[in-house]
């Protein structure tokens, strides 16, 4: 590894170096990600777009440490995921990465508030601090008053906002969002994206989306298009906001 590469891996929010993911299956193996090298700087608001099967979700899972690459290396916040044990990967996800999923994926047995503060509970943050952080996010996202509701008693948009609060409550370096607006109507999607942009601007959290949604692509300040597991284009659309 050269000095320049080292500098990139240390400073970038995410850096992938010739990453491959090959799924072994009959009759032929499938290369979902084919030697992708990208760098995402801290505070970027990036969308990865592409048709189904282009490798967006697989790349997101690789960056989130949910699956391991077949070849290549991935650095998140300066740490090489390839050398980490499952336990260290879990710790990394807890401390550095927030996830937002298409299907919301809130824990059904917990209330909205408990779901939102779940990572903070795992991190052992004291109750006062937890409540302070989460209450503020509930206020900002218009969810105040719904803290004690179970996910089943919330609308899709409300559930997704709780999922976003859960993703950012621990102030991770990176939030990975896989089709976060796919199940939402346009008004709710816009509201959610407003909220994510605001959090990106104010907290400096890096957002990386995998999406089909033109609204997300439109708002992204950088758009990476994937085709057949490879980067087809990487376009910086607007300057990063001044903070």
């Amino acid at each position: 590894m050269t000095a320049t590469t080292t500098s990139v891996t240390d400073s970038a929010a995410v850096h992938t170096d010739a990453v491959w993911k090959i799924f072994e299956q009959e009759p032929a193996d499938v290369a979902a990600v084919q030697g992708i090298t990208i760098t995402i700087e801290p505070s970027e608001f990036v969308a990865m777009a592409g048709p189904s099967g282009s490798g967006k979700t697989t790349l997101l899972n690789l960056i989130g440490g949910l699956t391991r690459p077949s070849r290549g290396h991935i650095w998140v916040a300066g740490r090489d995921l390839a050398n980490m044990s499952n336990r260290a990967l879990a710790r990394m996800r807890l401390e550095r990465i927030g996830f937002v999923f298409q299907a919301y994926n809130l824990l059904p047995v917990l209330t909205a508030l408990e779901n939102a503060e779940f990572p903070l509970l795992l991190l052992g943050v004291e109750e006062d601090e937890r409540r302070h952080r989460v209450d503020e996010l509930f206020d900002r996202t218009g969810l105040s008053g719904l803290e004690d509701r179970r996910p089943g008693k919330l609308s899709g948009g409300q559930q997704q906002r709780v999922a976003v609060i859960r993703a950012v409550a621990s102030q991770p370096a990176l939030v990975l969002a896989d089709e976060p607006t796919a199940n939402l109507d346009s008004q709710t999607s816009d509201g959610l994206l407003d909220m994510m942009e605001e959090l990106n601007r104010e907290l400096g959290t890096t957002f990386l989306f995998a999406t089909h949604d033109p609204r997300v692509m439109e708002r992204a300040r950088r758009l990476i298009r994937l085709v057949d597991g490879a980067v087809a284009s990487d376009e910086r659309r607007r300057p990063e906001p001044q903070r």
Partner: protein, 424 residues
């Protein structure tokens, strides 16, 4: 480290959420716990009854004898007067006196009982009539006449089979012949004052009770005896009293003047019978809980497979695979503990409710049942012991934990990316 409170909260809420599945698993454990307590209480009650009968018919919960007497059964292996005094003195030792209900001296010798109609081998036991009546159940088994009384001298209390064999009746004369303390053959004429029937052939054919004074003078042993038998308030006190007595009599034991035997050593056949019966009960319980464990494995495994996405999510949020498996184990242990406790309480209550006066199974047999000198009582009274509740709970906990290990292992092996795939 993950907060245990969070794990417990998640486990409890998941159990509540999966109410039907939890109820199915709990039902298996409730039934198992109830059956466990039911069978253990009846088993313990049966064994206590066997032991009670055995020690009263035999040499008590604890027997103090000369070291070689247990094997030889000969009069020369009797306790000396000094050893007898030391033994009686030891009964005042701490941990002994409060447990001893009755103490009886016995002088037993193997000999011959003869009448004009024949002769039979007999085990002649010289007893203190008053104390023996409190101690033994032989006096309760009288079918003709009466048991010995303190004023009796040349009286004998004999079994019905011996009476039949020698054609003896109440008032008949009987000659007892045995080797005395000097090694000479000596005879003693006695008269039948009572006839008993225990249902144990070897007892009814051979055991003859005569007054201790008569036996001492006939066998020239004066106040020396072969056994000092102790009856305790409960059989579970035997190990403690044995330790205390052996400590108090350590000088006599070291000098080979005395030995102190518990009923398990003095009556090895009864000990073996209790152990074999226990083994049978444990096997039954093992098989029953094996089946219950399989049911738990099945329901918990189904739960893990059904909650694939949830476990994937937990790992995506920062749970390690080990913590995910730990959650499955905690859920299973919480469920089995709660249901096991319920089952144990239910089993204890049902046993008390239905069988507090004993379970009468006399309809299953037509005549007396006996073995190893023990008369079986057809009424089984369950015995409740708090230790059994703790043991039952620990056993259930172990079963619950073991049953959750494979499902927990499966939870640790979840492919998180696969589990989080969006299903349209």
């Amino acid at each position: 480290m993950l907060r245990p409170v969070l794990m417990a909260r998640l486990a409890l809420r998941n159990l509540r959420r999966q109410a039907r599945r939890s109820a199915l698993t709990a039902a298996a454990m409730v039934v198992g716990g109830a059956l466990l307590m039911f069978s253990v209480s009846l088993g313990d009650g049966t064994h206590e009854d066997w032991i009670e009968s055995g020690v009263r018919m035999g040499s008590g919960h604890i027997a103090i004898q000369a070291p070689r007497y247990q094997a030889s059964r000969k009069i020369e292996d009797r306790l000396s007067s000094a050893a007898r005094d030391a033994a009686l003195g030891a009964l005042d030792a701490a941990g002994v006196r409060q447990r001893v209900v009755q103490t009886v001296p016995r002088l037993a010798v193997g000999g011959l009982a003869s009448s004009p109609n024949g002769a039979r081998p007999a085990q002649v036991v010289g007893v203190d009539p008053t104390k023996e009546a409190d101690f033994s159940i032989l006096d309760d088994k009288v079918v003709e006449g009466r048991y010995l009384q303190p004023s009796d001298r040349l009286a004998a209390y004999i079994g019905a089979e011996l009476a039949r064999g020698l054609q003896l009746e109440l008032g008949s004369r009987l000659v007892l012949t045995a080797q005395d303390a000097e090694g000479d053959i000596a005879g003693q004429l006695v008269r039948v004052v009572g006839i008993y029937r225990t249902g144990i052939p070897e007892v009814d054919q051979a055991i003859v009770h005569i007054p201790l004074r008569t036996a001492g003078s006939w066998l020239q042993t004066n106040d020396e005896v072969t056994t000092i038998a102790l009856l305790l308030d409960r059989s579970r006190a035997v190990p403690g009293v044995l330790r205390a007595l052996r400590h108090a009599l350590s000088d006599e034991i070291t000098a080979s003047n005395t030995t102190v035997l518990g009923w398990r050593e003095a009556m090895p056949e009864l000990d073996a019978a209790v152990k074999v019966d226990d083994l049978g009960n444990y096997l039954f319980q093992g098989i029953m809980f094996g089946i219950i464990a399989l049911a738990i494995v099945n329901t918990v495994l189904m739960s893990v497979l059904h909650r694939h996405r949830e476990f994937g999510l937990l790992q995506a949020l920062g749970f390690t695979p080990k913590q995910t498996g730990g959650l499955v184990v905690i859920e299973s242990v919480v469920l089995t503990t709660l249901s096991g406790l319920t089952g144990i309480a239910l089993g204890t209550f049902l046993t008390w409710l239905f069988f507090r006066n004993g379970l009468d199974i006399s309809f299953t047999w037509n005549e007396d049942w006996s073995f190893s000198g023990v008369v079986l009582d057809p009424i089984i009274v369950p015995l409740f012991r708090s230790a059994r509740i703790v043991q039952g709970l620990v056993f259930i906990l172990i079963v619950g934990t073991l049953a959750s290990l494979y499902p927990a292992y499966r939870a640790t092996r979840i492919d998180v990316a696969e589990a989080m795939k969006f299903e349209r």
